[in-house]
């Protein structure tokens, strides 16, 4: 059985993206932050910044104290998203089965492609080269019979390509540190390994020789840990599924806890959801509102829609917002996620009801907006809030 799962990793993706956009950053110590706030963390950093003692995951407040020479860059979500999408499309030209795994990491299922590409090592290098030519981003490739080994090899092997053959998985893993295994991230597993002072995967492999004891020590995680330690992974490379959701999000440029602004933003998002639902002539049985605070915490509340006119949807969303926003901290973004759709039928009514009047009003507004643009007809508070956004 040939190794046919590729893992492409563009190390320090965010850092490379920033350097791609601004070449003057190439030799400078830089760190990309999850948030400019003090409790943000370092997402990606250059080797020069590492020399200053910084590391990925370090809190911004500590990093700022530790090093005044490192340039701290804000998280440029839209740049990384677009670049990631571009690289995804690039690697998709080599195989139809590509699974993205966060920014700058992709699994490729090359099963059955041997006859096309002949030599997988060369193919891997070609893919990476291709990415570099198109984006100037550099990457590494891991090739193995399964996703787990390919992914581990790109995270630990310094070379640009590494191939692990079928049957060699356990040997490959044996000298590596236990935390590279995904199941070691489970708190109970981590605690037990720490207590037993088991640091290498080889030691876990030794323990597997005593299956009863192993099962007792690691409980429900024993099977998964045992498989991972032996390099077994049965998961398949699966391309992303298209989800049937309507998502609307607003990122507030200046974090705020101003109730009026936030209510207006929720109203605007709700109007957009309502508009899309009317277009589909569907009603969402589930609508979820997420509040993302400036300090990284988030809160969410979900409910159901009973009608799809603007007023009903706005009311429901504002109710959800009031429930979700229980803290005084400033808010960075708001997200509305409508799902579980079913056809919407307007029952003909002998007398005009409030609901039918609201629906008529919504459709009238919609007509104006279709003709003159969404911003042509807005309430004052939404207009004011959107001007800030």
């Amino acid at each position: 059985m040939d190794p046919s799962v590729f893992h492409i990793r563009l190390r320090h993706f965010e850092l490379q993206a920033e350097r791609m956009m601004d070449p003057s950053l190439r030799t400078r110590p830089i760190a990309v932050l999850s948030s400019q706030n003090q409790n943000g963390t370092i997402v990606s950093l250059s080797s020069e910044a590492e020399e200053e003692g910084l590391y990925a995951g370090m809190k911004v407040s500590i990093a700022r104290h530790m090093s005044h020479g490192v340039q701290m860059l804000p998280y440029n979500q839209s740049l990384y998203q677009r670049l990631n999408q571009y690289v995804y499309q690039t690697v998709s030209s080599f195989t139809p089965v590509v699974e993205p795994e966060g920014y700058g990491r992709y699994y490729l299922d090359m099963n059955g492609m041997k006859s096309v590409y002949q030599n997988f090592q060369n193919t891997g290098l070609t893919i990476v080269r291709h990415i570099t030519e198109k984006t100037r981003l550099t990457g590494v490739v891991g090739i193995s019979p399964n996703k787990l080994i390919s992914q581990i090899s790109t995270s630990v092997i310094p070379e640009s390509i590494h191939e692990v053959n079928y049957g060699d998985e356990a040997n490959f893993l044996s000298p590596l540190h236990a935390p590279v295994l995904p199941s070691v991230q489970e708190v109970s597993v981590k605690k037990m390994l720490h207590f037993l002072f088991i640091q290498q995967i080889g030691h876990i492999q030794d323990m597997i020789q005593f299956p009863d004891v192993f099962r007792n020590l690691f409980g429900l995680n024993a099977v998964r840990l045992s498989m991972e330690a032996r390099g077994k992974d049965t998961s398949v490379v699966s391309p992303p599924l298209l989800r049937n959701h309507i998502l609307e999000q607003t990122v507030v440029p200046n974090d705020t806890n101003d109730e009026n602004t936030l209510q207006a933003l929720v109203k605007n998002l709700a109007e957009q959801i309502a508009f899309k639902l009317r277009q589909r002539n569907e009603i969402a049985k589930k609508v979820k509102l997420e509040v993302h605070y400036a300090d990284g915490l988030q809160s969410a509340r979900a409910g159901a829609l009973k009608a799809i006119d603007d007023i009903s949807v706005i009311r429901q969303c504002q109710r959800l917002f009031e429930k979700a926003n229980s803290r005084r901290n400033r808010i960075r973004s708001l997200l509305l996620d409508a799902s579980s759709f079913s056809p919407y039928s307007e029952q003909a009514c002998l007398f005009q009801t409030q609901e039918s009047r609201n629906m008529a009003l919504s459709r009238a507004i919609e007509t104006v907006r279709k003709k003159y643009g969404v911003s042509s007809l807005q309430t004052a508070n939404v207009f004011h809030a959107m001007a800030q956004v």
Binding site: Q38, E51, H65, H68, M192, F195, F197, N257, R328
Partner: protein
């Protein structure tokens, strides 16, 4: 004529913004002869208000603004009965904040004027209160017509009030912020009914007339009503638990008998000098009626063994003979007049310290003996300070904790500046903070709310006992921790004449107690758990070993003289007899730094003379003013003030709340001294010394009392080092971390033993040059686990791991913690750490079987570096290796050891160090700097970061604990310090140098 009868000060918690100084200034500007302070549901600042008013010749009126969820009422005191009723009513509203106004005042209306503006309240009160005492209140925000209608309907007169909450209209935003803080919400979410409009500022008569042009009679009524209120407040009478003549006579007799008996125990033979002093003091005490007080304190002190009376009471031979204090006032020439003098009218303070873990029992005893009706604890009034103000306003504006901390952690705990905006913009400590518009708004508003009352809490030890219901004298409330407290803090309690006894917890007394217990136990003297030597039997003064220890400045762990500054002072001075240690204890205070250097030079032989022959009383302290009583003596001798006045000056200097009076006292002192013919230059120099007592100072008896405990601790440390340091760590607290104390023990050659399942107790135990760590040192180990181990051990020691596992039922997490801490190393000798861990995990996790696993798949022993890391995980610090030891082999030989610092005076050297403690300070130019204490494997050493270095490296101290530094060695009076030129994180430096610990 208009008088403000509805006025809220900063004591109206989270509502009022007017300080008492502001109120008095405004009242003077508007020429008001009377003034009522009606804080919301309380008399929180009443005593202070009376004092401020008296100072400004304004007649103070007591009152309150009663607010319940739906109703409001202003209550003003007509006479003493009205005051008692007011205290009762306020206490009742504290008991039940949801009660109706009528139910609160029913039965307590006598002596009170009531002003209401709500029809329902007037309606219900009109049936209870005569219309001579009930009025319709017309306040800003209400319609004149509406009030007039109410007045006609109920046939009661109208009175105009200002209903003031802030100074100017522009302060309204700060008031709204306070409400948002109180309601734990944001500005936008704050309900409009929760805050006042911007109309509630301090208006004068003319402004009130223009506000209510059709209610001139009601405006005049405010003044007429003010004149009918009680304004002659006097607090000269001390309120004793029992005032009857018969009982006072019996107390006088009883006191005399007990003193004579105590004197025989203390002195053996009573010489004429002793007898004279006893009689002099007894006469004064009985004459002033203080005898019952002494008997109460003695009764409380007798409830435990180790106590220490502190404060001025230590100047009394009566206290000494009653075993309340521990210093012989005759031997150490302590002036009784500092405690009680012929002119003293207020209550003398007897403060007693108890071991910190016994104090709650003592308080319970007092409450049980005198009952909740007569007893309450003093409160601590918590006001918003710069740190808390920024934190609270930041939350209202939605800042995250980290953003708030970026400011607050750079503001010292005791900072009192209000101009935060300017401070943050100009102080280098805030250089790395991103100051956006929101943050600037937060700082601006924070500045405005600094000094406002936040909430009451419980004073650590102040107890009040009254003869009849305490609710008659002061409003009381129940603190969240379930103890009854009065509304006033200690100074107001003291000034109001209430009997206050300070029963404070003291860790060092517990340290002494525990050390003696261990010494007895190790020596085999202990018969029972409570049979141990009394610490009063120790005679530490004059013991050569004790003095040598103090002379070397090796006083870590020793009560009161363990801070780096005091350790250095002891070493620099070199003279450490009792009298000198008393001086050092008193002179170590922030404002007296420059006098410390002068004193050191004089100790080392620099010739000096007194500033004036009349200042002979300063000769005992090298011509420098050190003790509080020297302030009052100087005032008496130079300015000719009487005992009472001189004492008042002393009190003013030592109290924060009285700082506004200092200028007036300076004038009085200067004029008095000039009149008596002293030179202006001398007066200025003496006042300069008096000024150094501002905020923080001690009297000689207090310092002597504390010095005695310091000597006792030093004696124990020098003779029973391991027992003493084990007790210091066990009692926690102290100036340093447990790590620092254990390091100190190692410097004394003591071996630190890891906890052992058969030998360790809950606390650390010292014996025979070793300290065995207690189970308390193990992080996350549950208390009940410790108890069950100790209980089971009573049945016999554990002879093997299997024996332990079978006898003690533990949670796996606790078993893991015990294993990692090395508790089983002895009983499972020969097993590697991995073997042990495997056995224990197997024991708890095997299904259906409870027996340890025999074979471990991986059994090699962990490395010393792994052991080092494990110890840090388990205890929070390493034990086996010094934190710097793993790095030493990677370091250049140019890096010196601390023990060699004296060989490099004047030279620049490199050192490494582990953080021990630090203290931020400011230079004379108010630039921030830092004193830093570090240690390496060889010794502990002191460093200084002057402003430039502090600016560059100060941030490093927030997150790093291992340092490498370059600094110049300086020497003063034989003590060495390192002035840091460059400071870096050791681990960061190692990484940069590509050196890694294997």
């Amino acid at each position: 004529m208009f008088t403000h009868l509805n006025l809220h000060s900063v004591y109206s918690a989270m509502r009022g913004l007017l300080s008492l100084q502001d109120i008095i200034e405004l009242a003077k500007v508007h020429r008001m002869s009377h003034l009522a302070m009606t804080d919301v549901n309380g008399l929180w600042g009443f005593i202070r208000f009376v004092q401020h008013c008296k100072q400004a010749n304004i007649e103070p009126i007591a009152g309150t603004h009663l607010i319940t969820p739906k109703e409001e009422l202003i209550l003003l005191v007509e006479n003493q009965i009205g005051y008692h009723n007011l205290c009762h009513i306020i206490s009742s509203v504290h008991d039940d904040p949801g009660a109706s106004i009528v139910s609160l005042v029913r039965g307590k209306i006598s002596g009170l004027f009531m002003l209401a503006h709500q029809e329902s309240v007037i309606d219900s009160l009109a049936k209870l209160v005569p219309n001579s005492h009930l009025f319709v209140e017309l306040r800003p925000g209400l319609q004149e017509k509406q009030a007039q209608n109410l007045s006609k309907t109920f046939n009661v007169e109208m009175v105009v009030t200002g209903d003031i909450y802030f100074k100017h209209k522009i302060d309204h935003q700060a008031h709204v912020i306070l409400r948002a803080i109180e309601k734990n919400t944001t500005l936008e979410k704050l309900d409009q009914s929760e805050y006042k409009t911007d109309q509630h500022w301090f208006r004068g008569e003319a402004e009130m007339i223009s506000l209510f042009p059709n209610s001139l009679d009601a405006i005049n009524n405010s003044h007429y009503l003010a004149e009918r209120c009680k304004t002659d407040w006097s607090f000269v009478n001390t309120i004793f638990p029992d005032l009857s003549l018969k009982k006072t006579h019996r107390a006088n007799k009883d006191l005399k008998e007990r003193v004579i008996e105590g004197a025989k125990q203390r002195y053996g033979t009573i010489t004429p000098a002793i007898s004279d002093r006893i009689h002099y003091e007894l006469d004064l005490i009985t004459q002033k009626g203080f005898a019952p007080y002494f008997l109460i304190v003695q009764d409380i002190v007798q409830q435990t063994r180790s106590t220490i009376g502190r404060g001025s009471a230590a100047a009394s031979i009566i206290s000494y003979c009653l075993f309340i204090t521990q210093v012989d006032p005759l031997k150490y020439m302590l002036q009784f007049e500092r405690f009680i003098h012929p002119e003293r009218e207020d209550m003398p303070d007897i403060d007693v310290d108890f071991p910190w873990d016994e104090r709650d029992d003592i308080l319970a005893y007092v409450f049980e003996k005198y009952g909740n009706k007569h007893t309450a604890m003093v409160s601590s009034q918590v006001f918003l300070k710069p740190r808390s103000a920024v934190r609270e306003v930041g939350k209202v504006y939605g800042l995250s904790n980290e953003e708030i901390k970026s400011i607050t952690k750079r503001i010292g705990w005791y900072a009192s500046r209000r101009d935060l905006e300017k401070w943050v913009k100009t102080d280098p400590r805030f250089a790395n903070v991103d100051l956006d518009e929101t943050l600037m708004t937060v700082l601006r508003l924070s500045g405005k709310i600094i000094g406002t009352f936040r909430h009451p809490s419980v004073h650590p030890g102040g107890v009040i006992i009254t003869p009849d219901s305490i609710r008659k004298y002061v409003p009381v409330l129940m603190a969240p921790k379930g103890v009854q407290i009065v509304e006033w803090e200690k100074d107001q309690v003291e000034d109001s004449g209430l009997l206050k006894i300070d029963l404070l917890g003291n860790r060092s007394l517990a340290v002494v107690r525990d050390t003696l217990k261990q010494v007895n136990l190790n020596g085999g003297h202990q018969k029972t758990d409570t049979d141990y030597a009394d610490y009063h039997q120790i005679q530490p003064v004059g013991d050569p070993k004790t003095e040598a220890l103090m002379q070397a400045g090796k006083t870590m762990g020793i009560f009161y003289i363990e801070s780096p500054a005091t350790r250095q002072l002891l070493a620099k001075a070199g003279v450490v007899d009792f009298e000198h240690v008393v001086i050092y204890s008193s002179i170590i205070r922030p404002a007296a730094n420059r006098f410390t250097t002068v004193m050191l030079r004089r100790i080392h032989g620099e010739p000096w003379t007194l500033l004036h022959p009349d200042l002979e009383f300063l000769s005992e302290s090298y011509g420098i003013m050190v003790y509080e009583e020297q302030v009052s003596t100087a005032a008496r001798v130079l300015a000719g003030l009487g005992y009472a006045e001189a004492d008042a000056l002393r009190k003013t200097m030592s109290r924060d709340s009285m700082q506004h009076l200092i200028q007036a006292w300076k004038k009085k002192f200067t004029y008095g001294a000039l009149e008596r013919g002293y030179e202006p230059e001398l007066i200025e120099q003496v006042w300069d010394m008096i000024k150094s007592f501002v905020g923080y100072s001690f009297c000689k008896p207090h310092s002597a009392s504390y010095a005695m405990l310091s000597f006792t601790c030093a004696y124990l440390k020098s003779h029973y080092t391991s027992e003493f340091l084990a007790s210091v760590v066990s009692n926690q607290g102290g100036f340093y971390s447990a790590y620092a104390y254990l390091s100190e023990a190692k410097r004394f050659g003591i071996r630190i033993l890891l906890p052992d399942i058969n030998k360790s107790g809950k606390t650390y135990k010292g014996y025979d040059g070793k300290i065995c760590m207690g189970f308390m040192s193990i992080k996350h180990l549950q208390k009940q686990t410790i108890d069950s181990i100790l209980d089971e051990r009573k049945a016999g020691l554990f002879d093997s791991l299997d024996d332990f596992l079978l006898r003690v039922d533990l949670a796996l997490a606790d078993a893991m913690a015990l294993t990692n801490a090395g508790c089983f190393n002895e009983i499972a000798y020969g097993l590697t750490h991995r073997d042990l861990a495997y056995r224990i995990a197997g024991f708890y996790l095997q299904k259906g079987v409870k027996e340890p696993l025999d074979t471990a798949p991986v059994s090699q022993e962990i490395s010393s570096w792994e052991r080092h890391q494990l110890e840090i995980d388990v205890f929070g610090f390493p034990i086996t290796l010094h934190p710097l030891a793993p790095y030493r082999s990677l370091m250049s030989p140019r890096i010196q050891l601390a023990k060699n610092i004296p060989c490099h005076v004047g030279r620049v050297i490199y050192l490494t160090g582990v953080y021990i403690t630090r203290k931020e300070s400011v230079t004379r130019k108010h630039e921030p700097m830092e004193f830093l204490t570090l240690e390496d494997e060889s010794d502990i050493y002191e460093c200084v970061l002057f402003p430039d270095a502090f600016k560059e490296y100060g941030d490093l101290l927030h997150w790093e604990s291992l340092f490498i530094l370059r600094g110049r060695v300086e020497e003063a009076f034989g003590v060495y310090t390192v002035t840091i030129e460059k400071l870096a994180s050791l681990q960061q430096w190692m990484r940069k140098s590509k050196k890694y610990v294997s």
